[in-house]
């Protein structure tokens, strides 16, 4: 693209219009800040953003409406996690069973290292049980690295409740319904 560069007129060469213009612009802004108090700065710890829906903050585990852990320790999130921030300890064969009927199992321990987490949301996407969600916490602070490895208890308490379909609850009914399902050949 060729920009048309007009030679400056004498008046423009004097710099005076530019000076007056500069004075006006700066004064206008100083006036709007000082007198009208239109400041663009948001003073952070006191004022906070309203986060948009779908914001990807820290991932936490959620419970269902009956206060039971949704996670079934399938370890899909652990495998998909790009920075390997999630570490799940499954209950094992002799381990503790799930806290509800018809659920396969429950993690013995579920740790997310928030220093490694990149808030990508893959864990949420991959979870078949809708047990982990990226929530709106963005300011995770601690005095040591180990404090930022959140365990199951902490993740559950921070995650709150996310009501949804309770697969395990209706599992038996579903199984029975499947048996009587009219299959036509």
């Amino acid at each position: 693209m060729i920009v048309d560069r007009k030679p400056l007129t004498f008046w423009e060469k004097l710099y005076l219009p530019a000076i007056v213009g500069g004075l006006k612009v700066t004064l206008k802004h100083a006036y709007s800040t000082l007198i009208q108090r239109k400041v663009v700065t948001m003073e952070y710890p006191e004022q906070k953003w309203t986060l948009p829906t779908g914001y990807r903050g820290a991932p936490y585990l959620v419970k269902d409406q009956e206060d039971s852990t949704k996670c079934v320790s399938c370890q899909l999130c652990e495998f998909v996690c790009p920075p390997k921030a999630i570490r799940i300890t499954p209950p094992g064969q002799a381990g503790q069973k799930a806290d509800r009927a018809n659920a396969e199992k429950m993690p013995a321990e579920f740790e997310i290292n928030m220093l490694r987490c990149i808030f990508c949301g893959f864990c949420q996407e991959v979870c078949p049980e809708e047990a982990i969600f990226l929530q709106k916490d963005y300011s995770l602070t601690a005095l040591s690295r180990s404090e930022l490895i959140y365990n199951k208890e902490k993740l559950l308490s921070l995650g709150g409740v996310s009501p949804g379909i309770q697969k395990w609850k209706h599992k038996l009914e579903e199984a029975k319904a499947q048996e009587n399902f009219p299959v036509k050949l």
Binding site: A18, I19, G22, L23, V25, T26, H29, A30, S32, T33, L34, K38, V39, V40, T41, E43
Partner: protein, 371 residues
């Protein structure tokens, strides 16, 4: 005077006039340096605050020593104003590691900050910052060649910058130093030329007498407005302020001549720049805006009482602070001049203009005296 112990009184009255002069000069030097440093500290704050306001921000508003929050209304107010910020800044400079990069020319590297600061401090010596308090003239050295002294000292300031650029053994400071020397020379001449009409009109080099003339005949900015404009622009160039901040030019030269400096040595350059601003503002006030005088409320003649003396000092400070604010304000108005534009402005615009100005003033004075 009863509160002063007898021994000190008798010692003071036993001094010879020379001894008294030395004593009072030392007192004045201490006070002036203290005040200038205070102004420098708080002009850094003013710079940050004013720039914030112009850019729709709030500026420094958090720093406060721990006890301040217990003061009811005043404490939070002062904190929001950023009053304690300069203290924190100064402390930071003091406790930072004084790092000397490998490969610098050590002697010059240490000498340069001192050479930058000393001339900046020396210029205020001849500036009359008030009329009289008691029987003391409010000027450290009432030289008969005050203006010449100022110009001599001010042009020394360039050595600090050039030496810093040379000593750092690095390309950006080198560029900064080169630019600074070229800039200083080109503007020094216009600056010197711009003063000549003032001297033609007043006929004296003594700054106190120039103020006296202005008190009697009106401010010199009315008689020599072109001189004032040239002097003001040249002093922007002299103090390396935008739009002539080519020696530092953060965006092109990293930090210019002080790129390799840190901690207190860097702070000294900072101090020099702001002290230069103070002395340039003081010079502008003295030469063109009547110094410590005001044409009304009887403030136009030397004070007879202590109260009037203090009022004069305050008038001077107020005028000076106004120009400090202009210095800061202008920084947010203009983009930086290109190197060739700067040279062009200095040599091909201001120098001829200053010469014509001298001629015009001389002709005007000649016509006036012929009548």
């Amino acid at each position: 005077m009863d509160f002063i112990p007898q021994s000190i009184q008798s010692w003071y009255f036993g001094l010879t006039p020379d001894g008294k002069m030395v004593l009072w000069s030392l007192v004045k030097i201490a006070i002036v340096i203290g005040v200038v440093q205070g102004i420098v500290m708080y002009s850094v704050l003013a710079e940050r605050k004013i720039s914030a306001w112009i850019q729709d921000r709030v500026g420094p508003n958090r720093t406060a020593p721990p006890f301040v929050k217990f003061i009811p209304v005043l404490g939070p107010f002062l904190t929001r104003l950023g009053i304690f910020q300069p203290l924190a800044d100064g402390l930071k400079f003091l406790i930072k590691e004084d790092f000397t990069p490998a490969g610098v020319k050590k002697i010059y590297f240490f000498l340069a900050p001192a050479l930058a600061v000393i001339p900046a401090m020396l210029t205020v010596a001849v500036i009359p910052f008030g009329s009289m308090i008691g029987d003391q003239k409010m000027v450290i050295a009432d030289l008969n060649v005050g203006i010449l002294y100022t110009f001599g000292i001010v042009s020394m300031g360039v050595y600090g910058i050039v030496l810093a650029g040379y000593a750092a053994n690095s390309k950006y400071p080198m560029f900064g130093g080169i630019r600074s020397s070229a800039q200083m020379i080109s503007y020094e001449i216009s600056m010197g030329m711009s003063i000549i009409p003032v001297l033609l009109i007043v006929g004296k080099l003594n700054l106190s007498q120039i103020i006296g003339w202005q008190a009697a005949n009106g401010w010199l900015v009315v008689y020599a407005p072109v001189s004032f404009i040239i002097f003001m622009v040249a002093s922007f160039a002299e103090t390396n302020r935008t739009p002539f901040d080519l020696p530092e030019a953060e965006t092109e030269l990293v930090g210019g001549y002080h790129t390799e400096y840190g901690s207190m040595k860097f702070a000294l350059f900072f101090l020099a720049e702001y002290s230069n601003m103070v002395s340039s503002s003081a010079m502008m006030v003295t030469l063109f805006f009547g110094g410590w005088t005001l044409p009304f409320w009887g403030l136009d003649h030397a004070a007879t009482s202590v109260g009037m003396g203090i009022a004069h000092v305050l008038v001077f400070l107020a005028k000076m602070l106004f120009f400090m604010v202009v210095f800061i304000w202008v920084r947010w108005m203009f983009p930086r001049f290109r190197y060739d534009q700067l040279m062009d402005l200095g040599w091909r615009r201001f120098l001829p203009l200053a010469l014509v100005n001298i001629l015009a003033t001389a002709v005007w004075l000649w016509l006036k005296s012929a009548n």
